[in-house]
Every structure is written in C-alpha cells, then in structure tokens.
Amino acid sequence: MTEYSLSHLKELEAEAIHIIREVAAEFENPVMLYSIGKDSSVMVRLAEKAFYPSKVPFPLMHIDSKWKFREMVEFRDNYARENGWNLIVHYNKAAYEAGVGPFTHGSKYHTDVMKTQALLEGLNKYKFDAAFGGARRDEEKSRAKERIFSFRDKFHQWDPKNQRPELWDIYNARVHKGESIRVFPISNWTELDIWQYIRLEKIPIVPLYFAKERPVVNVDGNLIMVDDDRMPKEMAAKAEMKMVRFRTLGCYPLTGAVESEADTIEKIVEEMMTVTVSERTTRVIDFDQDGSMEQKKREGYF
C-alpha cells in the first residue's frame, strides 16, 4: 500500500508555498523583505518554488543599514542578479548622510533609525500592502503567538491585543487603504528545520555562517568582527584571528561571532544539536531591555 505521507520538511515547505501564493493572489503590491540571512535565503527559495516555472511576481526589498557585513552585500547582489530577482535596496539616506552608526550613536539609536525607520520609509515609499518576513515562532518568546498574517495599522504598528483569529489554512487578507499585513511563511520552522532544508535543497547562504579564521574583537563577551575601517582604531587594535562563524547575521558591529570549527552544514547541525546557546543571544540589540523584541515589534520592526 502506498503511504501518502510527507516528511516534516516537505509539509512545512507545502505550507509556506501555500502562504506565499495566497499573498500574491490577495494583495495588490506585496514585497518580500530580504535580510540576506539563512532564513531569508530559505524564504526566497520557497517563493521561487511557489511560482515555478513563472518568475516570482513581487520584488525583494533589502533594508540596508549600511553596516552590514561586506560579504552579505556581495552575496545579495550576486544572488539577485543570478536568479533574476527584482531587488530593491532601501536605506535611510538622511541618517546615513548624517553619519549614524552603532559605534558613534549606540546600538539602540542606530537600530531604530537605520533599521526600523528605514523599513517604514521603504514600505511607505513603494506603498506595499503586504510584506513577507522570515521570522520564526521559535526564535523568541514574543513570537510564539505571532500570526502568520500579522495585521499592522497604517503606522505599521503591531497590537498584540488586536490580532485576527487564524484558523486552518484560511488567511484573512482584507485591509483598508494604508493598512498592511506582515506575512511569515516560515513561522512554523525551527532553526534545525532551516539548516536541514538548506542542506536538502542545497540553498546558497552567506559564507559567514561557516567557520573560518576571522579578525575579531572581544567586546563585553561578544566577538565582534573587524569588517571595515569604520571600527574605532583602538577597538580594532585589539583584534585577534579566531576560528569563528556567525549564527545570525546583521550589522557587523552588533552581531557576535561564536568560536567554532564548523565549516560545513553537517558540522553546523552537529554543533547546533549539542549547543547550549540559542541563536538570538548573538544579537547585541536584544539586551537593551526586557521584552525589547516585543517593544520593537510594536514600533514596526519585525
């Protein structure tokens, strides 16, 4: 007897494709937010799968804080070119020209201006009514209750008390003018699922995820990589070469590396299964205040 059963990865894939197609069908002007990270890479592949053999009917948008790792930017441009994506890169021009950066303005201000504000600016500029994000529910406590279709008011704000019931696979896509929906097609994926899927599907990811000798500075226990000459000289002077990799990617001064020998996906997974630190702890921005991710979400950050 044939057993009609899908593996958990294939079931998650089917669910994500269904969600992505639903947004393309229901919204006039969707966009896929692309962070260049591994979760984004998986989401982008899922979009390619959803519309195969057609092209994906919406653009990618990267909110560039101008402090991303150089390898990320390079990867982004290559990937979009090679895969025929319409890529929008948006950044907060005014703040950039004013020289805002984490070293001079602190992580909180930098993140607010160059990420949250830039995102809202980008969404408003192109009048997107739906924006895909690669967030997962297992990442952080406040995300465990996040909807797949997450309603945002016309100020892009998220009200945890005012979210729509979400049942079966029927998604309510109705919004008034100016309101929007953030869509999280990989909500039900765990970090392990992501790695397994990258391995299974041979999805290209930024090389920073793999261990390599890199120049890093120990800043309050976080290993910060010297990625360019904007790092203060006295800080950069303390750099030492270490075998490190990154579990998450963001602005290089705000993203700590972990010491690791894992230079293949298999080794990363092996390391992960025995690891004792969850992935978001290598993001400096979460330490600002308790419940800070929830706070950022309310303000419009993912």
Partner: protein, 662 residues
Amino acid sequence: MNKDNNPNTAKLSPFGGTEGGFHLDINTYLDQDEKKDLLRLLTAGSVDDGKSTLIGRLLFDSKKIYEDQLSALERDSKRMGHAGEEIDYALLLDGLKAEREQGITIDVAYRYFSTNKRKFIIADTPGHEQYTRNMVTGASTANLAIILIDATKGVITQTRRHTFLVSLLGIKHVVLAVNKMDLVDYDQKVFNDICANYKTFVTQLDIPDVNFIPLSALKGENVVESTTKMPWYHGKSMLEFLESVHISSDRNFDDMRFPVQYVLRPDLDFRGFSAKVASGIIRKGEQIMVLPSRKTSKIKEIITYDGNLDEAFPPQSVTITLEDEIDISRGDMIVYPDNLPRVERHFESMLVWMDEKPMDPSVNFFLKHANNTTRIRLDKIQYKIDVNTLQKSNVDFLELNEIGRIVITTNKAIFFDPYKKNRSTGSFILIDPMTNNTVAVGMIIDKLNSEDLPSKIVDEKTLEANKQRIHQGECLISTDQRQKRYNQKGSTIWITGLHGSGKNELAFTLEKELFEAGATVVLLDGSSIRSGLSKELDYSPADRAEHLRRVAHISKLLNDQGMIAICSFISPGENIRQQVVQIIGEDRFTLVYMDASLEFCKNNKPELYEKYEQGKVQHIPGADLPFSIPENADIVLKPEDRAHNAQTIMEYLADRKIFPLI
C-alpha cells in the same frame, strides 16, 4: 518510520553524541532525520491542571530548551514566578509581557520540539475565559489533542467543554492526560474511575480514537520515560504515545479537490493552475471537471520546482496544466467528474463567534472558503449550544465564544463538502466588511434540502411558494425581519382602568418616551377610534365588546408589522379583556392596570362624573357598570406615581427585550 528497522540509526540520539556505543554519523543521521513526519497537537487544560508544566517537561526533557533560555527563565522566576524556588515552567511558555505580568496566558502559543521519531508543533491554549476562541483556533490545525485532567478533581465541566470543542473541530485523536497522579498516591482506582467517567461522556461525541495516560508532570512521571511508580499501567508514556500514534491516514485521500489558488501565466503558451491539494489524489492523465463551469479536460502535467509528479496528495502545493484551454480563475475548483462536491448557495453550519462585537445578523459578511470569497446572508440561527452543558437554546444572535447552528446563503455558489468528511473544503471564516476582522469561523454540516430552507431563502421553489402565499394574502416580509429592522418586538401594551384614572396621560407620555428612544410606536385610544372606525357604536356592553374587538384586530395588524401599539381603553370586564388577548396573542400582550380609586377619578375628571350624577350620561364602569379589577395585570400602577409610571413600563419592556431588542 522505516528507520526503526535500520540497525545503524536506531539508537542515534537526536541530541548528538553517542548512545549505546554507536558513533554519531551526522550525514546518516540527517538523511534519516529529514524524513521524519510532523505531528500537530493541541493541549487543553488550565494552569491549575499542570498543563504548562507538562509542556515544559516535553520541551525540557527532550532537551530542546536551550541553556540560555533557561538562565533567562531563572532570572524571570525570581522576579515574578509563582512556583516558589522551583523553576516555573509556565514562565518559559508565556510569551507576551503584559500576560507575564498578569500571570495568565491569553492566546494560542505555538511550541516546537523534535525527537528522533517526529517533529511536534504544540498549540498551547489556555483553559479559561477566552477558551473557546483560542481552543478552536489551536484545534483547527491539530491532528491530536491532549486534554488535561487533575487526578484530584476528576472529570469537570471544563473537561467536557474541551472535549466538545475538540470533537466540533474534528480532531480524531484524543489523549486524556490524568495528571497529578502523585497527589493520589498513584492509585489505579482513581485513574480507572476517571477513565470510566470520561468514557460515558465521550461516547456521545464523535471522536474515533480516545486514549488514557496517567502521569505526573511535576515529577516527570510517565511523561517522557515510562512510569516506575505505576506498575499497574502497561501503556506508553506520553511522549512514546505521541511518537507512535498513526496520523497519516487521517487525511481525506478519497475525494479529489483542487481549489485553484493562483493562475500562473508566464507567457501566452503556458497556463498553470496552482493550489494546495485539499483532499484526494490528483493524478496525471485523469479526466477532470472544473467548477463552476463544469467543463472537462485531462491533467497534462503536475509541476513542481523539484520536477514533475505523476500524482500529488494533500497537503502538497503543486501546479497543474490541462490538455485543453479552459478559462479557470482563482476560486474555481478542479475535481473528478464522478465525485463532485456540493455546489450550493444554502447550507447549514456550526458557527463559532470570535469577535468582541456581538453578531449583527443583518450584516452581509464576507465568507472566505477554499480560496473563494463571497458575501453572505445569515438566514437563521437554529440554536445556540452551551459548551458546558451541551444544552440548546433559541437566540437571535451570537456573542463572543458562543457556538450556534446556523443557515447561511451565499451570493454565489460555493463548492464544499461536509466538514466531517473534509476539513479543507468544509471550513470557512467570516469577515466583517467594515472592520475587516475575522469575526466567526464555521464548519459546514451540509446543504439544506429545499423543504427545510427557512422562509427567507429565495430559490425557484421558494419563488413558487411565495406566489402561493401572495395568492393567499400572506406577506413576504416576515414579522421577524420587521422586528429586526425596528429593533423591537411587535407588541401591545394595553392600559386598563376607570374613566379619569390617568390612562391617557400615561399612554401619551409613554408613546413620546418610546418614540424618543427610537421605537416605532402607535397609540390607540377611545376618542381616535370612536371618532371614525367605531363611530356607529355606543357605550353599551355589547357595543363596547365590538369596539374592543376592532381595536384588538388593529393592534394585532400593527404588531404583525413589528410595531408597538399602546392601547388605552377602560375595557372593564375580564371577558372582554380575554377576547382581546386571544386576538392579539398572549406572548405579545402586556396588560397595565391603572389602579385609581373612584374618588381619585372623580376629582381628576369632575365634568364627566358630575354629568353622571346629574343622570345625563350612563354606562360608566365603576359607577353604574361593573369594573372587574384585573387579577393578571403584568404591571399595576398608581396615578400618584405619574412622574415614574412611563419609566416603569420602559424598564419592563427593556427587561423582556420587547424594546430594544438588542
């Protein structure tokens, strides 16, 4: 789960490292691990039942709580924990800040863990207040439900409520987790009694697979490892059970339904129809029919990014092409011609109201179902069902967390199957056209046979029936529709009392107050009727009776039109009043007695009583004619309270939902 047969991988731990002397080969491990399936489960119960502790155990004991989450947890526990010195597992689960501060969980939270046999998604729903909305949400995607019971309390109302909701949402596997066995000394009898009690209840519901597991979440007994404290229990531990329960045959593989979600048109030569297979197996080369056009063709290809398939099954998301060029758009459904779904505009459904704002049955909600959106009309609420007692009652609308059986008419035909047979094509949501909120969710029972359609639904048969009714002088607008329009119940307020008792003053004041409050109201009194309609009648008992018969019929007509009639008439005899009640109908009739003494009346209306004393007029009830004081008046008023009397009646009407209705 063929990996259990593979001696090289059977003993691999999902957590890395070695076990039983085998070295972990990560490649082999991953190749196997990728193939494990997914179980979505719902946990129902309250914090008191130890639900969070159980979930915490499953997550913790299967080593998926990372160490830093734990250290953050210890910090949080010191500040707000409720479990004293021990780690509070509940804190690990409660997500949002506001909820943490209140110490309650108020939404559905999703948790993830894996073993080397399965990946699990837990929909964690709270047991209190918003229980129905949240449980229904969590249950909609679950394969299995764990219902928690406190062994010291046994089967309680909440247990029954949870079980009912689980069966309503069509979950096929239920595990009754009898928790806190440590508090009853792991006594087999306690467990058996609870199981027996539960079985008598659960057999009334439609759940094919019910299981019972005794455990202690707090002590970790029988949660992950098999129990040592309950040697009388020979079944599986909770985790073992979850790892082994067979779910892949739960899906409907019989009735092929492909609800077109998206049309791919990369160029003029290619037309692909994308969707998630809702049910059944779609096969290359098969003859298909497209609804609603009923055009037929054959499946040419089943396309995926990873290569073409010969067949696809739920829940795969694929794209198909057809041999013939047929116009197909989103919302159409591709099926096999020998196995059609219902194609109907009228159906009955169980409906769960999910919105804070109560149902307004006059709103034409959007219905979203199988990639189709259409406007609807709520025709009728057959009954409301109480989730705690399963008692049915009649209501005019549903409120938050209420469940009813309703009749719906859609603007265009939808393609559905009964929810029991097919979760994907039997479920829908209702969206408020103003707020865009998802206000209700429904599970379709079935189409309605035309003879069972409520009178409001118009189809060919009904049109014919309407013609018949018009012919017989019947109205096509029901009293119910009018009442909803006016927001009131068509009723008669009949004020009886002596000449000069202050009836008319009360009647006119009441009319004005009702009018100003938004009611649609008509006043009938002696002078208005006698000046025209009853012009030829005098005040003799016989003519009085005829006069009041006419008044009663007018009042009935008004009530039928949904209007409130205030009738101010002496109506002195019990017989006469009985006749009036019979014409108007008891359930629409409110009798108000103006209890004034003859003294008062004489002072109030001296000119009439003087004429009577002088013998110029006769037939005055209370004087030369008897006036029988009504024994059965709904409201008795004194003229001395004239400042409050109208208000008293207004309150009476509001209490009985005569006005306002809502």
